[in-house]
Symmetry: C2
DNA sequence: TATTATTTTTAGGCTATTCTAAAAATAAAA
DNA sequence: TTTTATTTTTAGAATAGCCTAAAAATAATA
């Protein structure tokens, strides 16, 4: 149906539309695709012919409803595969992007239906980003940094911001992973450090760590 | 490292070499690849330059050691993914080929190491074909049809020959799948029918069914 | 507003892979 | 062995996707 290149363009344009309203500029696409603007013009014209987006010379592009659906579908696949890689194959959160970048292009509706079920229809990927549903609907992300929570608030860990190996190892040690419930028992205004409850353990974490964990409330 | 097309050619040539000794002809490759002989000549020359095979004009080609290794690796990936699709995602044995055909090209050594471990390092794919090991060594297949077993012999089900949905449903009902141990309790010379033991159940099967199940002894 | 800078597009090429048609080599048949 | 048939290769062209360089449109500045 769509080539690998086409899918990648649609995906990138979808992301860019979410990052800033209105038309997406040729240069913005080129930069994100790590390609030249002239190549973007070519592809964008091709996708416009396929009615995946509306393209106005010198004005930028905007996905059509269909285009948005196709893009969301690629993103859905990407994020589901990331969950698979982390949850089942025990990859770390920062090792999965490249592989998912390839897996997202595997064509089989049935595969994704089954993969989704197998993973328990997850709502978020390992980076805390929401997974579009079968219809391409992307839940508005409400994730915040743990550091933004107040005393006695709680939420579920949905991802990490930066994922250096040391940090991920720390999380492993503290038994924090995606889906883990975290409650803030205390917060020090002075340095932003916190006391949190994870399972039955409570412990101290620095502001730096609280700034690196995404929470869904 | 290798393009999708290159990997497919190497894989096909690998299979053809196993089917008949000696050089593989251009036409044979073309037929299996569902492409034109002239296209094959082009690609084969390219792969020869890359030292993946030895090509002699009008004489055919033969994989080099390296070429064989690369091909076996693609086949290993294909078959591991087939196991995943059947064992984990509960696809039927006859639905997985097309999808595995895509998955076999995902590039990541680590992925395959982990997938293999996750699946318990299976030796056979859902069709009973052996899975090459990490070093590209393909165990000589010793699978036979269940109908070839004698009374009191037993083995493990490693695949099916033809896989119509009705047959697969029959196997489901009888709780026979890959890895299932089967023992022949009795065999009727007259019509080839058998009484077999599967788990704690013993039941009658026709010759037709015994001819359709591959067994590893 | 005129000029300069930036962005975007067009024109023309390059590479990988495929194809068709014609030529060359090999194999089979008379 | 000569002729015919088959196989294989070469030559030339198409397509997708990318590139560079130059032209055109738009935006920013004087």
């Amino acid at each position: 149906m769509f080539t690998l290149a086409e899918e990648n363009y649609l995906k990138i344009i979808f992301h860019l539309e979410h990052e800033s309203q209105g038309e997406v500029s040729t240069n913005a696409i080129a930069e994100r695709m790590e390609t030249k603007p002239s190549s973007v013009t070519d592809m964008v014209q091709k996708l416009a012919e396929k009615k995946m987006l509306v393209y106005k010379r010198y004005k930028g592009t905007q996905l059509t409803e269909t285009g948005r659906k196709v893009a969301a579908d690629v993103i859905r696949k990407h994020r589901l595969w990331e969950v698979f890689l982390v949850e089942k194959l025990k990859f770390h959160w920062d090792e999965v992007h490249e592989i998912a970048e390839q897996l997202e292009h595997i064509q089989s509706e049935e595969l994704i239906i089954r993969l989704d079920k197998y993973l328990g229809s997850p709502q978020f990927d390992p980076h805390g980003d929401p997974i579009p549903d079968k219809n391409g609907v992307l839940k508005r992300t409400e994730k915040k940094l743990l550091s933004a929570l107040e005393k006695n608030q709680s939420g579920v860990c949905v991802g990490v911001k930066e994922s250096e190996p040391e940090f991920l190892q720390y999380l492993d040690k503290k038994k924090i992973s995606i889906g883990t419930k975290i409650k803030v028992l205390g917060k020090e205004f002075f340095d932003g450090s916190m006391i949190i409850l994870v399972g039955n353990d409570q412990f101290f974490i620095s502001h730096k760590i609280a700034e690196n964990l995404y929470i869904q409330t």
